[in-house]
Structure formats: C-alpha cells, structure tokens
Symmetry: C2
C-alpha cells in the first residue's frame, strides 16, 4: 500500500519544479513502460504496477504492486493504464557517435504535445539529435513523454543556447518561415540544421539572422498557418525523401 | 449579468448529447470568433463578449457584455479569451460547386485534436471536402473547433457511410498503411480519395477492401508509427507538391 508521503512525492513530479529538484520524472502506460524497461533499465527507480501488469510482464525487480485506485491517485492520465514508473532523468547531450549531419533545432516550442510529436517524428525519420532553446517545453513533462510514444528513449535531445550551437557547426541552416523558398523547388540533402519556431511567433529575430535558407511549405488553400509539429513532419519528409 | 439558467445551457454545450439535441455549439477566443463573424454570421445565436472585445471590435448585434469571471464560468478553455459565441450548426454536406476531384476520408479518427489539425491541414492544401465515418469524433466538439484555428468555417465536412461514399465515386482510392508502396516512388496527382484510419487500429477491414492503392510514408528510424494528423500532412504534401 502506498503511503501518503509516497503519493505526495510522486504527484509532485507532475510539476517541473519538483522534477528539476529531484532529477526524477514519470513514465506511464504499458507500452511506454515496456520500452523504458527494454531501452533504459538503468534509469528506473521504482515500478508501480497493478497485479495484472506485474504478472503479465514477469516484472521481478524494483516493483511495487498497487491497486487500480492507487494508480489513479498518482497518475497524470485521465485513463491510467496499468503502470507508472518513477525514473531518473538521463544526461541531455548530443550523441557524438551518430554521423551528426542533420539536426532539428527548436526555438521555443511551447506546447508539450507538439514537442512530443516532434520527438516521435525525428525518431521516424532517423534524426538522432534535437537541440532545443532553453525556453522550449520540458521534455520530461508527462504530456511530452506520452506524446513521444517511446521515442524519447531513443532520441538525443539537449537544451542549449541555440545561437552558439548553430555557430559552432559548419552546416547549412534552414529555417521554416511563411515567406521562404518553396520546399518543392529543389531537392535538399539531409545535411544541416532545420529550425522550427514558436507556435505563435515563429523563429526569433536573433536566430533568423543565422538562417542561410528560408524555406516554406506552399499554401494552396486559405488556412493562415500550419501546426508546428505537422510542419516539421512535412519538412522532414522533404529532406529525407531522396 | 448571466442567469443561472443561461450558464447551465451554455455549459451543456460542452457535451455532444446537448449539442445534438439543441443543434448548437460553441466558438471561443478572439481570432476564431472574428473568423466566424466574417464567414458565417448567419449561424450566430449570441455573442458573449467582455467589454474589451465588444469595444475593440465594434460589435453591434446579438451581443451581451459579460465579465471575465462570467466568461471563465462558461468557457471550455483553461485560459478563456475575451469571447464565447453560441452558434447554430450548419448542414454538413459536400460542396458540389468545388471541382471535387480530391477527398479526404477519415475512418474513425477519435482524438479531437487530430481531427481539428486535419481540418486545418485540408484548408492549407485547398482540399474542399472531408468525409468522415459516422464514428469519427464530432467536428463541433470545442477541442476540434479550437484546433482548426478557423478552418472549420471554410471546409465542407460530412458524416457518411464511408463504404457507400467511396463506391459512389469513380475515383482512385488511396489508403495510408504501414506496408504500402512508398509515397516517394512515383508522383501522384491530387485526384482521388485519400483514407486515413483510426489512431490505434488504422483503416478498418471493410474499408481496406475498397482501397486501390495502399501507400506508406517510408521509415528511416525506429518509431513504431506516426501521429495520424502528421501523417495526413505528409501525404497531402505529396499529393499537392506537383
């Protein structure tokens, strides 16, 4: 049975302040949890699973059986799903073993759902590194973790001063704008840094000055703009199609 | 000042059952509301605006001034934004004046955010008609309306028996699958019906049997799947790029 203090500790991890202080975060749901156990077992602090989850998956270490009711007390989900894991954050840094020729750079993406979807997209297209400006959403936010569908365990994500990062690389710098060159105009190799900007304000002036190629998804209808994760998908598809 | 009964009526429209019974739904926020006033003024029942909204936008008809506090009582948003409009639903039917050579067909899309994002995408690429299976999410759900960013006022969306609809058209039928032909393999004209399936289960067996071309977004990394609205964006981009 979960003590009041334990419940309080776990619920505090719903909030960034306490995730930062404790260096812990939460992973939830059967699929995500099994991915975590497979890919980053060293990060697991404690598995809180229902009887069903523990038996079905033959969990033999670091687990505590809890009831459905207890799970719903500590979960961030409307419909909790069998298991919640308290997990140590890992170091957020570049994977220097990858070929490192293509980076996704996020300039103040605010919505957790968008960030999670972008991480999942990077994992689909084989992008190994994502660099985020320091005021981009927290990748350990439960909504981000959930939206990645497990891709967060495979992608290298880091928070850095974007300007410095871009200047440190000798690569073409692509920025997504509403008034750039059509992405359909010419083929582009998957080499460079592709920058996506904030949902409301786009790429900041400071970063815009570092862009070598402004690119645009042509519009054939009347919508004012595209959702940033959808735009990221279309752009990645263009970079990797050849 | 809003009466208790009025508050109750408006709040009932947060739920599908009451939207269906009353044939009304809610539009919220400054940008969305101004689009509604511009594009479908005949559907407006009543505008509930804060003083600021009414003055700034010179609203002279069908309005009632309310306080910020009253707005937060009736709003579906965490951060209500100046105005909420009670709006009559319009008839959901095909626009037979458009050239009608390209349809987006949604087979049981469940997530309101996905449906809204897909409507916005259709509006970006100039797709005029979206046909939804009868168990697809309600397009008058406040989360759908919000995610369309106004595109719901421009796109023709209808709920129909998908099989019958597909069979009634003499068009190529494309379906998004994980094991179809690569979309990069050959150019496709924007003519046909493009089907996207349910978030968890994909396209149903019944509809799969009507598909003439199974298509796939090739994977270069390790994610198991793509978010359905992102996949729709990448596919529409491929159909309209030429």
């Amino acid at each position: 049975m979960l003590s009041k203090n334990r419940i309080k500790l776990i619920k505090s991890l719903h909030f960034k302040k306490f995730r930062d202080e404790s260096n812990l975060f939460l992973v939830e749901g059967e699929k995500m949890s099994l991915e975590l156990i497979r890919l980053k077992p060293e990060c697991i602090e404690q598995i809180y699973g229902t009887n069903e989850f523990i038996e079905e998956n033959k969990i033999i270490e670091k687990f505590e059986k809890i009831t459905e009711k207890e799970l719903s007390q500590i979960s961030t989900l409307k419909t909790p799903n069998k298991v919640l894991i308290v997990c140590k954050k890992w170091d957020l840094k570049e994977n220097i073993n990858s070929r490192n020729e293509f980076y996704l750079a996020l300039d103040e993406i605010q919505d957790p759902g968008n960030l999670g979807t972008i991480i999942r997209l990077a994992d689909w297209f084989g992008v190994k590194n994502i660099v985020c400006s320091k005021n981009t959403a927290d990748c350990f936010n439960p909504k981000v973790v959930q939206a990645t569908m497990g891709s967060i365990f495979r992608i290298n994500l880091m928070y850095q001063d974007l300007s410095k990062f871009i200047e440190s690389k000798n690569l073409p710098v692509y920025g997504a704008f509403l008034d750039g060159e059509s992405i359909y105009q010419k083929a582009r190799a998957p080499k460079g840094i592709l920058i996506l900007g904030n949902e409301g304000n786009g790429i900041s002036k400071e970063i815009e000055n570092l862009v070598s190629d402004k690119i645009t998804i042509p519009k054939f209808g009347e919508a004012e703009s595209l959702n940033v994760s959808v735009a990221t998908g279309i752009l990645l598809s263009e970079f990797f199609r050849n």
